[in-house]
Symmetry: C2
Subunit: 194 residues, 2 copies
Amino acid sequence: MTKIITIGREFGSGGRTIGKAVAEKLGIPCYDYELLLKIAEESGLSEQFIQERAENSSVSSVVARGLSGLGKHSYTSTEDYLWKIQKKVITDIAAKESCVIIGRCADWLLSDKADCLRVFIYADVKKRAERIVNVYGERKESPEKRIKDKDKHRSTFYYLHTDMEWGNVHNYHICLDSGELGIERCTDIIASLY
Amino acid sequence: MTKIITIGREFGSGGRTIGKAVAEKLGIPCYDYELLLKIAEESGLSEQFIQERAENSSVSSVVARGLSGLGKHSYTSTEDYLWKIQKKVITDIAAKESCVIIGRCADWLLSDKADCLRVFIYADVKKRAERIVNVYGERKESPEKRIKDKDKHRSTFYYLHTDMEWGNVHNYHICLDSGELGIERCTDIIASLY
């Protein structure tokens, strides 16, 4: 039976870095960008389109859905199609091999799977702002604005597809403040729970 | 310098048991009922009154506050008095000795203290319902109703005094699902972070 670790994370919290370090420590693969490639392959859609849509829902698409009167489980057809592919890719991977999966509602998609550790990584805005400037560089927008926008898109996407609140403790087995505990300690704790 | 661990916890999650086990493991005191005794001694109020009010705010008292037009930082005088005493007792203890403190908004009261690990323990309702029947026995009300009422009082009290959402990850350094991880593993993780 495969064992999976899913990592939900706030933008700039270092959740991806932690996920990769956990996978390396445990000698299992980590799916992040690799997931996107698999979704692209399976769907025929471009990587860029998926990067924009596979985890981020624009507020306008939510409003459009609301106005359409189609209800919460109806989407514009491309989003619906993409969600189905994403679901298939993630459940297929989880059935095939033990691994770490970053983001993309994997915690919710695999919530019925017994051997799945669901993790959420967060940190305060000040520490995340410092981190994204270090990791991704300066942009025209302030790091605080970039964080707010990215988190808003992630939480909207999560709510749209799962009806659950992104970052609510009850969706995860363990939630760690990477800003206070540090990347290394978070990695050690998660690996020790595997 | 003293080192403190605060444990916020959902009713029936075993947070108190975990806190006591952590304290025992680290050889430091755990303040739970002992805090109540200190508050009683300092305030002159009865233990029973404090037990009812020092962590639980009745919804009626919140409504009364709202109707009074006194705003969020004005309370009925006894509640205000009790809160001041609770604050003094907790900050005094934290300054004097390293320890574990259970509940009572200690995380928020000590949020400025550098050496304070803020923990939140939770679990799903089903597992908590089983636990409270095992630990506290059957009551006329269903365990689910008891959980709902107790958590509502704790979150109302927390919000009333801190303006923050009880159980929101950003108020804590680590949040653990005791139902999934188990009491022992939660204890080990917290003790390892001390």
